[in-house]
């Protein structure tokens, strides 16, 4: 059977989805033939009490086939097992109607056991790695070995040895030993054969370059040479398999580890059966148990390494993809806001011209319409600018432009800017300052932006009240701080509203956005800037009692906090 090349997402798609009845039937027959031939070869190594083989890679073929092709593969497994076992019975049994019937019965029961093992094993493995490749992480490999090999393979020997004992082919006192031999043979067979098939039916994670082909050749040569020396010449260097398997896993992933393990295992089985292996004990078949156990452990280790490596590779890959996506996003936003601003600029400019004309000609109805156009386009422009600011902050590309400036001049300027808006709502603006505030070293434009944002919020949410801007310079052991409180006597906020305040695009109520205007981004952006400068914005408020926002900034901003704030 040739395993179809599929990607990790597709491998567990039922075969039915892609293929016609004929190709499914062909696949089932191929599985049956492969299973049967490999099982028949394994019977060459059967251990006398009960004639059970301690080497049974067919179990791995069955599990991999079910994992890749889905449930229809189970039919092939049963057929293969039934035929291979059935033939064995007729090899060394006198042909009579009774023996034919009991042979057929026992064979079909053994087939059911093998089928159940593969089915249940596949089900368990899929439960723990539901998204595809069961060998693609350390944890998945562990669950594959434990569930697919150790647990799944409990069924086949139980059903099989029971059937053999019931048919009189195994004595009941040998039940335990036969069961153990069968289980070890199946489990190690799964560990060697299933990863080999699975790894080669999945896309490799490594690109092949001439250098890698050379390395793969060197690795293959080393594996073959060392296997020949150890298992063919009976040189006790079996531990040399460990570095070779690690090399395979580290450099060629699951595919490399699985392939080397399968090659070593094959050589070990042949060598041990010829009596030319360091594992050779009293009998060939007993020796096979020890060699299988040794290789199972080493292979499991190598597969786990490959799985962990694969996991790390994927994490790096997604990290790279994430970075590329972030870059693409901020480039898109920067371009888009540039493209949006150009026509907006034209709209605003021409509206202003028309407005001047309308005023000169005393066309009052047109003046109002044009003022509304201007206000709406101004709002749109503010949104575009805020989105650009926010995307640059997110991308960590916002830079601070630090300079030294007098604090009070800036505050007076903001108060003056807010004056006309405040007067419209019947509000009064009061500026309080205690002592000499002096200068600060910060990004003047951003401080002004934050201040203007807090001030215009205060004005927007207050009617016939007072907006107080209080400024103080505080000395602490960490240096001087400039603290600016912007208080109002407006609507105030509940604790719940306060909690959502600094999130992008949330105003306490969406109806407020319609009533009071604003992009809903200003506060979030202002806080980002203050944090970049090593400070913060905090708020105290209660419904009906107004709100007080406080900007705290170091009097001398240094660049270091900016970099860390932008990165977080």
């Amino acid at each position: 059977m040739r395993a179809p090349r599929t990607n990790a997402v597709e491998i567990f798609m039922p075969y039915i989805v892609h293929h016609s009845f004929t190709s499914r039937a062909v696949a089932i027959i191929l599985i049956a033939v492969l299973y049967g031939v490999v099982a028949k070869l394994s019977f060459l190594f059967t251990i006398p009490p009960g004639n059970i083989s301690p080497v049974f890679p067919a179990a791995g073929i069955a599990l991999a086939a079910v994992l890749i092709l889905g449930r229809p593969a189970l039919i092939g497994v049963w057929l293969g097992s039934f035929v291979a076992n059935g033939i064995s019975f007729f090899d060394h049994t006198m042909m009579s109607t009774g023996t034919i019937v009991s042979g057929l019965l026992v064979s079909s029961c053994i087939g059911v056991g093998a089928t159940l093992s593969a089915g249940v094993g596949a089900q368990l493995v899929q439960r723990f790695s539901p998204h595809g490749d069961p060998l693609d992480s350390g944890w998945h490999v562990v669950s594959f070995i434990v569930l697919g090999a150790l647990v799944g393979c409990l069924i086949s020997p139980t059903v099989g040895v029971l059937s053999l004992a019931a048919g009189g082919y195994v004595s009941w006192e040998n039940f335990g030993y036969s069961w153990l031999t069968w289980w070890l043979g199946d489990a190690s067979g799964v560990i060697f054969a299933a990863p080999l098939i699975l790894a080669w039916s999945l896309q490799p994670h490594f690109r092949s370059t001439p250098l890698r082909v050379l390395e793969a050749t060197a690795l293959a040569g080393s594996v073959l040479a060392m296997s020949a020396i150890v298992f063919g010449r009976n040189v006790p260097l079996e531990y040399m398999m460990i570095p070779l398997l690690l090399w395979s896993a580290f450099r060629f992933g699951t595919r490399g580890a699985a392939t080397s393990a399968a090659v070593i295992s094959l050589c070990a089985v042949i060598g041990t059966s010829q009596g030319t292996s360091p594992f050779f004990k009293a009998s060939v078949n007993e020796s096979l148990l020890y060699v299988q156990a040794f290789l199972s452990i080493v292979t499991t280790t190598a597969l786990m390494l490959a799985g962990v490596l694969c996991e790390r590779y994927r994490a790096e890959q997604s990290q790279r993809e994430f970075q590329a996506a972030t870059q693409a996003k901020s480039a898109f936003l920067a371009n888009m806001s540039h493209e949006l601003r150009t026509p907006l600029t034209a709209i605003i400019g021409m509206t202003e011209m028309l407005l001047e004309d309308a005023r000169d000609l005393k066309r009052d109805d047109e003046v109002e319409s044009l003022e509304r156009v201007l206000r709406a386009s101004g709002h749109l422009l503010a949104l575009v600018n805020d989105i650009l600011d926010l995307s640059k902050i997110e991308a960590g590309k916002m830079e601070l432009d630090l300079e030294t400036f007098p604090v009070m001049a800036q505050i007076e300027d903001v108060a003056n800017t807010l004056q006309p808006l405040a007067a419209k709502g019947g509000n009064e603006i009061v500026v309080n300052c205690t002592g000499d505030i002096g200068t600060m070293h910060a990004d003047e434009r951003r401080v002004r932006q934050a201040l203007l944002n807090l001030g215009s919020n205060a004005v927007k949410f207050t009617e016939h009240g007072t907006i107080t801007i209080a400024v103080e310079r505080r000395s602490s052991d960490g240096g001087d701080w400039i603290v600016i409180h912007v208080g109002d006597t407006g609507v105030g906020m509940t604790p719940g509203e306060r909690a959502k305040l600094f999130t992008e695009f949330t105003q306490a109520e969406s109806s407020m956005a319609r009533k009071f205007g604003g992009t809903g981004l200003g506060l979030a952006i202002s806080r980002h800037f203050c944090r970049m400068m090593g400070g913060d914005i905090t708020v105290e408020s209660a419904p009906g009692r107004g709100s007080t926002f406080s900007i705290q900034l170091p009097a001398t901003v240094t660049v270091e906090p900016a970099a860390s704030a932008a990165a977080s």
Partner: protein, 125 residues
């Protein structure tokens, strides 16, 4: 009359700025790419140049560098018009030799103030 060279490729922007500066009493000449801007600066000797930065053929920064490198155009003040919040654009503009910058969209009173500040006193009235 004070003559301003406006280097800009966007037709709508040209229409608005030309119109508004004409109303404010200036003569506005227009170049639609950086190369043309450099050529017109040398040929027309305007009193001031308004330079957009993102321009075809030769961008605004390079055009400004060329204008400031030629002895006969070196003295002409250049105001760069940058898109808002494009960090780096401003610094690059000043490094290229621009005398001042303003952000788009143009706010006429603010820009007029900057233009008047850079014009020789006799023309400012």
């Amino acid at each position: 009359m004070t003559r301003i060279l406006y280097v800009e490729d966007n037709e709508d922007n040209i229409y608005v700025v030309k119109n508004r500066f004409t109303r404010a009493g200036f003569t506005v000449l227009v170049a639609t790419d950086g190369e043309q801007g450099v050529a017109m600066a040398a040929a027309e000797k305007p009193d001031l140049i308004l330079m957009d930065l993102r321009l075809p053929v030769v961008d605004g920064w390079e055009a400004t560098r060329r204008i400031k490198a030629q002895p006969e155009t070196r003295h002409i003040p250049v105001i760069a018009l940058t898109a808002h919040a494009m960090t780096g654009d401003r610094e690059k503009a000043l490094a290229a030799g621009c005398d001042d910058f303003d952000t788009k969209p143009v706010e006429m009173p603010r820009l007029l103030e900057k233009v008047r500040a850079l014009l020789p006193k006799k023309d400012a009235s």
